[in-house]
């Protein structure tokens, strides 16, 4: 009661209040239930024998030594399983599908690809035995970079793949562009890059499969964001009907997109459980997670943009290359990054003429998945750097250049050159407010830092984030499996408690709490009386899981719709018992009452009891339960934000430190401010990591060099600073609750804001970078005037050097020793 009293409920509504999370208690007590916590009698443990080569033919596999080890029960190769595979399809001529075998057959395409699976009574024995699998390899040349892969002489990662291009499409091509560029007063040509990064959920992939003899069903407990797509993947790969598979996601220890695709190992484990009629567990270790799961965000943008003398953009052309690794991930395909990039590059800016060509390039690296943000961290970086470059060229303030180009109040809904209709946002207001806050709150750190010889800079990023794509939008991608809708079932039980089922699958976002807030408001009950059931394909209608900032809008919207129907049922029952009109009955505080007649209150639990246990007392059309099923399938809705970062750069060591960070964001109606703030802060942390630390490196020979958390640096608390967050609320007309999705915005804005801040700090030295991450060694090299050495060009891990707009002169190197 005291906790509820603290809540800042608006007009008695739960939506808008920082309701404490239902999820917390079990996690804090150590009673969460993650896949690796599940045990079964007779359970076997799987381990995979993996390729040490980035590319090789497999000429023979011998598992006899592994099988001879004590405790080993079975070993499988691709041939043993009948060469099952996953295939992700896009119905486009510009797309070439790839078969991703559960276990590689005659060829491996990246170091870490599984070739055999060993099953033993304990995981230590399974790993020992996997090392005894004897494979005859014939190594092949590894294809490791965007340039090298497209060389006409390059070996094909998949047979028949011209230039190793899995996707090559031109989405927009305004014929006026050459003339526009020829006449434009300012034309900027630039190349932007972002490193390959890892989603790095603290819980890696994990599954436990068991055969249920009674139900004749294969039950797969798996750490996933998409239980139904896992079920479809298992059914398709193993050739069994979907009803023969039940997928259950218990507590999931983070996903960030890594777990919105379907992995091969998990299906292989499921197949083993089916074949052996034994429970089988597989818990990915961190090295496997870093080398053999999925990466993302390795992109290069070659961009030309024309501006007029006032800084208004006249035309934009982009060549976008995405290094997607060896296979297309199921079900999204390798097109997810180039399609997103080409479609959404213009972002919040009004572009009169546009051309975009996007490619997905196959290389001998781990495949990629839709990691948080999907191309938008990169395309926002591109646009925000272009605004800065144009401003510098024209001598206009960079924020004013943004204002002159962005979609402004009064212009919504705005249909862009990319065919996208932008619903109302607060692009201008968020920038204005952020600028004001920067002036008020960032200033005080500058003198202290500078007195210590550090260079300081402030950077901005303005952007929008399309969220909650339903099938009206997703169908334009032409995926064979087109996502978008979701369905909720809301049931009130005889005691007046509520069960909601959904096809979304939260894994840290607090859906058990926020869905309960939405439904509680509709039904006039306490959120504590609403229980969300998710992550079970036998419980929920077919749904599309949790990714793409979709769940609270689509899943929550479906729950809201279904709850509205149950609320009408409750009002009708109450109206009958109170001899009133249902239109006059309101539900609030656990009671149904005739509006304006406090004495008429009937407890909702009493209505539930009567409907279930005294059914004969209500008219026939109100009998037999209080429940409803509803779906929601919106076109999508744009949230937006302005980020501002302050960094210091140490010219002696090249160290870049984040000093201040603020976000002015607008995700429409905020369901739970505490949870929204948590999503923003966590996203910013990942974006700062991408800007300053994170990169999955491969050697030129294709060997992974980021195989531990000593090599792959995720940000700790020491690299971050508090994030000051302000909410604007422009309600969405495409959302039942007015909410917009917001799961990715933190990650989308942060790389651009931090990069702009670094460049602002380095401005006196005439140095700027157009890639992330920016590493201390690159800063030092650039300050020493060694622009070539700065970016290790040519190396697969190299991101391109700094550009020196002017000679680095001594007096500009403030504070250099």
């Amino acid at each position: 009661m005291s906790r509820d009293a603290r809540l800042n409920t608006r007009a008695g509504r739960w939506v808008g209040a920082s309701v404490p999370r239902k999820e917390d208690r079990r996690m804090l007590l150590g009673r969460g239930r993650f896949v690796s916590d599940l045990t079964r009698a007779g359970m076997l443990h799987a381990a995979f024998a993996r390729s040490p080569f980035p590319a090789a033919e497999v000429t023979g596999i011998d598992t006899s030594a592994a099988l001879a080890m004590p405790g080993v029960t079975a070993a499988f190769t691709a041939a043993d399983l009948g060469h099952p595979y996953l295939i992700a399809m896009l119905e486009r001529d510009e797309f070439t599908p790839t078969r991703m075998p559960l276990l590689a057959g005659d060829q491996v395409r990246f170091a870490g690809e599984p070739v055999a699976m060993v099953l033993a009574a304990d995981p230590y024995a399974a790993q020992d035995a996997a090392e005894l699998v004897d494979v005859d390899w014939r190594p092949l040349d590894a294809i490791t970079g965007i340039e090298a892969a497209q060389d006409s002489a390059a070996r094909q990662v998949h047979d028949g793949l011209d230039g190793n291009r899995l996707v090559d499409l031109t989405m927009f091509d305004d014929p006026a562009l050459p003339g526009i560029f020829a006449a434009a007063p300012v034309v900027i040509d630039a190349v932007f890059r972002s490193a390959r990064v890892a989603a790095l959920p603290l819980e890696g992939r994990a599954c436990m499969a068991e055969w249920d003899d009674r139900d004749q069903q294969l039950v797969l407990h798996i750490s996933t964001q998409v239980p139904h797509q896992v079920r479809s993947g298992v059914a398709q790969a193993l050739g069994i009907p979907e009803h023969g598979v039940r997928v259950i996601a218990p507590d999931v220890g983070g996903g960030f997109g890594l777990k919105c695709v379907v992995g091969r190992e998990e299906i292989a484990v499921a197949d083993a459980a089916r074949r052996l009629r034994r429970p089988v567990s597989w818990i990915e270790d961190r090295q496997e997670n870093l080398t053999a799961s999925f990466h993302g965000h390795e992109q290069r943008y070659r961009v030309r943009a024309g501006f007029d003398r006032d800084g208004r953009i006249l035309g934009l052309a982009a060549e976008i290359d995405c290094d997607v690794g060896a296979y297309s991930a199921f079900p999204f395909t390798s097109a997810v990054e180039p399609l997103m990039a080409c479609t959404e590059l213009p972002g919040i800016y009004k572009i009169p003429a546009y051309r975009a060509r996007g490619r997905a390039i196959a290389t001998n690296k781990a495949p990629t998945a839709p990691y948080r943000g999907v191309s938008r961290p990169q395309l926002v970086l591109v646009m925000e750097r272009l605004m800065e470059k144009a401003a510098a060229e024209l001598g206009i303030g960079a924020l004013d250049v943004r204002r002159r180009n962005m979609i402004s109040p009064g212009e919504f809904p705005y249909t862009g050159v990319n065919g996208i209709s932008y619903d109302e946002g607060s692009y201008r207001e968020s920038l204005d407010l952020a600028e004001r806050q920067v002036k008020e709150t960032f200033r005080n750190v500058t003198p202290a830092a500078e007195s210590g010889g550090l260079m300081t800079g402030v950077g901005y990023a303005c952007f929008s984030e399309r969220t909650a794509y339903g099938t009206p939008t997703m169908s334009q991608r032409r995926m064979a499996m087109t996502p978008g809708y979701d369905t909720a079932l809301v049931r009130m039980d005889p005691s007046g408690e509520v069960i909601v089922t959904t096809g979304t699958c939260g894994h840290g976002q607090g859906h058990e709490t926020t869905f309960a807030q939405i439904v509680a408001d509709r039904l006039g009950v306490h959120p504590g009386q609403v229980r969300l059931r998710q992550g079970d394909t036998d419980l929920a209608s077919y749904g599309w899981g949790t990714w793409g900032s979709r769940s609270i809008v689509i899943g929550g919207g479906a729950a809201d719709r279904a709850a509205a129907v149950v609320a009408r049922q409750l009002r009708q029952v109450a109206a009958h018992l109170l001899e009133a009109s249902a239109d006059d009955v309101e539900l609030a505080g656990g009671s149904a009452r005739v509006r304006g007649d406090a004495g008429s209150a009937l407890p909702i639990s009493e209505l539930a009891r009567i409907v279930h246990f005294q059914t004969h007392r209500v008219p026939e059309e109100l009998r037999y339960g209080l429940e409803a099923r509803a779906s929601f399938d919106p076109p999508g809705t744009f949230s937006n934000a302005c980020h501002a970062a302050m960094v210091t750069v140490d010219p002696g060591t090249g160290e870049i430190r984040l000093r201040r960070y603020l976000v002015v964001e607008d995700c429409g109606v905020v369901i739970n401010p505490m949870i929204v703030d948590g999503q923003v802060s966590g996203g910013v942390a990942q974006g700062v990591g991408a800007a300053l630390l994170e990169r999955v490196r491969y050697g030129e020979d294709g060997q992974p060099a980021s195989t531990t958390l000593m090599d792959y640096l995720a940000p700790t608390a020491a690299e971050l600073c508090p994030v000051q967050i302000t909410h604007l609320e422009t309600a969405s007309q495409f959302s039942e609750t007015g909410a917009k999705g917001m799961g990715e915005g933190g990650m989308i804005g942060a790389p651009a804001a931090v990069l702009n801040a670094i460049n602002d700090a380095l401005r006196p030295a005439g140095i700027s970078f157009d890639h992330v991450p920016v590493l201390p060694a690159e800063v030092c090299a650039a300050l020493a005037g060694d622009a070539v050495a700065a970016g290790e060009p040519g190396g697969p891990g190299g991101m391109g050097g700094a550009s020196a707009a002017s000679a680095v002169s001594g007096e500009h190197r403030r504070g250099a020793a």
Partner: protein, 184 residues
């Protein structure tokens, strides 16, 4: 040939005697032999800290310690923090300050902070600064929160325990309460 030893240890106040393979990590022994699955494994090479437990009051990466090394030791895991069904002050602060999202790293942060706060209290230290708590929190990795809620929760608990003289959580923590539900 498995090398197996018989060991005894106390976990959250409960005595255990078991036979364990010498190469088995303390984390695997706690989780799979003794049923304390609240301790999580995030990297198995000592970086992420999700597996942090207290061995004789000191925070330890249980993925880097063999189970046999805990022979004769007093071990505390996340299951030992609460008083039965009642969250400790530190646990409650994590919820109040939104210091967790997916919850996978949370047990490690809780144990790290519990040891830190107890050590400060034993040394009679005053209120820690936010920078000190950030430095502490940098021992472990969280991929969801951006750490602010974790830092705020630890800071708030430190302040509250100083205010209440003998912090209730710290006092109980020093004794090590028996696990109410998550034990073997």
């Amino acid at each position: 040939m498995k090398d197996i030893r018989q060991i005894r240890l106390r976990v959250n106040g409960t005595e255990h005697e078991l036979a364990v393979e010498t190469r088995r990590t303390l984390a695997d022994m706690l989780r799979h032999d003794l049923g304390y699955t609240g301790t999580h494994l995030g990297c198995e090479h000592g970086i992420c800290g999700a597996c942090t437990v207290l061995v004789d009051s000191a925070p330890v990466r249980s993925c880097l310690v063999f189970g046999v090394q805990a022979d004769g030791c007093d071990v505390r895991t996340v299951e030992g923090l609460a008083d039965g069904e009642e969250l400790s002050d530190l646990q409650q602060a994590f919820s109040d300050h939104h210091g967790l999202q997916c919850g996978f790293c949370t047990p490690g942060f809780l144990m790290l902070a519990e040891a830190y706060l107890a050590e400060r209290q034993a040394a009679g230290a005053g209120e820690p600064t936010e920078a000190e708590i950030r430095e502490l929190a940098a021992s472990n990795l969280c991929r969801c929160t951006g750490y602010q809620g974790i830092v705020d929760a630890v800071l708030a608990t430190a302040r509250a325990r100083l205010r209440s003289g003998e912090g209730r959580g710290a006092g109980r923590g020093a004794r090590g309460s028996r696990d109410a539900a998550g034990g073997p």
